[in-house]
């Protein structure tokens, strides 16, 4: 099978790492609160799943909501900046600069301003999600094939026709790669936002497990986060395959 040939190596490596981990823990008799073995983590996962699943769904909801808001805002900002090159020149460096602020240091401020509700959480996730979209969209708009743009102008296309019929569809592949990055960030953003105070969610589960030295559960949470990120990523890839028609030439 093609799938096995392509992904077989990575899966083999993953299995190898897990086996070595299991062996190292067993041979050296590492205590479970320090580093649990993969099999122990796995059996703990099965044990906690019934109660943990509400946390998972809560985090998924939060992540998807934040991702949607963040990418929509990012997309709109990118379109506005694209339409106003002068403003783009002023704003773009500031945008890049803003990315040097670790989100986590903003968290206390957001709590002071917005309390512990949904709002500060969505702002945090939105902040991490929106930047990759802005960059990817602007990049996509800018790199529109010049001969196609020339053709559209010759044909008398208006600015909005140029955007909707050429620049936007042309930037879709770029937009999707930005969206995929944002999607992976969104799960992380959601967990971080839950650390700041929430009733449920993977972040809450993690904080509780950590304070009671349930390292195996911390690992359950970590693996769940990884799995969720991959899942959203894969979902977007499927959407991408449906949306993007007729490959680019060259």
């Amino acid at each position: 099978m093609k799938w096995v040939r392509e992904k077989g190596g990575a899966i083999f490596l993953l299995l190898f790492i897990l086996c070595s981990w299991e062996l190292l823990v067993k041979v050296n008799e590492v205590p479970g609160w320090l580093l649990p073995a993969p099999i122990a983590v796995f059996s703990e996962a099965i044990k906690v799943i019934p109660s943990f699943s509400t946390d998972i769904f809560s985090t998924i909801q939060l992540a998807l909501l934040g991702l949607t808001i963040g990418s929509l805002v990012g997309f709109i900002i990118a379109v506005l900046l694209h339409m106003m090159p002068f403003v783009q020149k002023m704003v773009y460096p500031l945008l890049i600069l803003s990315q040097n602020i670790p989100i986590i240091v903003l968290a206390p401020l957001l709590i002071i301003w917005f309390g512990f509700g949904l709002m500060p959480k969505l702002i945090i996730i939105g902040l991490v999600c929106f930047f990759p979209i802005v960059v990817a969209a602007l990049d996509g708009f800018k790199n529109t094939a010049s001969e196609l743009k020339y053709y559209m102008e010759m044909a008398g296309a208006s600015k909005s026709q140029l955007f909707w019929k050429l620049e936007l569809p042309h930037s879709l592949p770029s937009l999707f790669s930005g969206l995929k990055i944002s999607a992976t960030y969104s799960v992380m953003g959601a967990v971080i936002s839950e650390w700041l105070g929430a009733k449920q969610g993977i972040g809450v589960f993690m904080t509780l497990s950590q304070s009671s030295f349930r390292t195996d559960r911390v690992f359950v949470a970590i693996f769940t986060i990884m799995l969720l990120s991959i899942l959203i990523f894969g979902l977007l890839r499927m959407v991408e395959r449906i949306v993007i028609k007729g490959k680019m030439e060259r």
Partner: protein
């Protein structure tokens, strides 16, 4: 008179590209613009297409000055410039979409006429070079403008495909008769296709000579081997040689 250009001048920075160009295209006429590459042929199309305005002189379409007005001509560039995410038929109606409602029935009919009906839902990447140019030509044709401007449309094709495409273009044009302004740097192509040829000098381009092509229509491939074709080709070659010799 459909298109009339009077004493056009155009410079970029300090380089003068077009120098006192006067020419015209009649209704239903096939005019070729023959000149060495870099002489300013595409610049001339930019002016007609409204992408830039002339420094001096006037361009009239149907007796109206059209400086800086886009979308008044049908245009076919050197690269087919089809949109890769649009199917063939969606590409064909693109220009119609810009000014109103696309007519898919008409587009289908045209694709059938040129033997591309099986490809109407294919994407451009599935087509050969010649097929892409046919689609690009139909797209220009369906823009419903009376003047079609073709900028070296076949120069990127291989020799055999090129001759096939020239014959194809003639057959479509001979029962459609829209005015065509055809840019080329191939003497044979100009002679085989056009009613009239303007020969441009090298930069800064002026019109060196206007040639009326006497061959009757419909034209067949055998014309390419006829004696009078060869003689005219020789004449044009001598005219152009001086322009290419100094070589830029």
């Amino acid at each position: 008179m459909l298109l009339k250009m009077n004493h056009i001048e155009k410079s970029f920075a300090k380089t003068r590209v077009l120098n006192d160009i006067s020419m015209h295209v009649e209704e239903g006429e096939f005019v070729a613009l023959l000149g060495p590459s870099g002489s300013g042929k595409s610049t001339l199309f930019n002016l007609i297409g409204g992408m830039t305005s002339p420094d001096e002189g006037t361009i009239l379409l149907n007796d109206n000055i059209i400086h800086g007005q886009k979308g008044l001509i049908g245009y076919m560039p050197q690269q087919p410039s089809l949109f890769p995410w649009r199917t063939v038929i969606e590409n064909v109606v693109l220009v119609q979409e810009l000014s109103g409602k696309p007519n898919y029935e008409e587009a289908k009919e045209w694709l059938k006429k040129v033997g591309l009906q099986d490809f109407q839902n294919a994407y451009p990447m599935e087509l050969s070079g010649g097929m892409k140019q046919r689609v690009a030509f139909i797209r220009a044709l369906l823009s419903k403008q009376n003047l079609l401007c073709l900028d070296e449309p076949f120069s990127a094709l291989d020799e055999f495909t090129r001759i096939e495409m020239q014959k194809w273009l003639l057959s479509v044009w001979e029962d459609n008769r829209k005015s065509i302004l055809f840019v080329t740097h191939s003497i044979e192509e100009a002679l085989f296709l056009a009613d009239r040829i303007y020969i441009l000098t090298k930069r800064p381009a002026t019109i060196k000579e206007e040639i009326i092509v006497p061959f009757a229509r419909p034209r067949e491939e055998s014309l390419l081997n006829a004696n009078e074709f060869f003689q005219l080709k020789q004449k044009l070659f001598n005219l152009l040689r001086d322009e290419i010799k100094v070589g830029e």
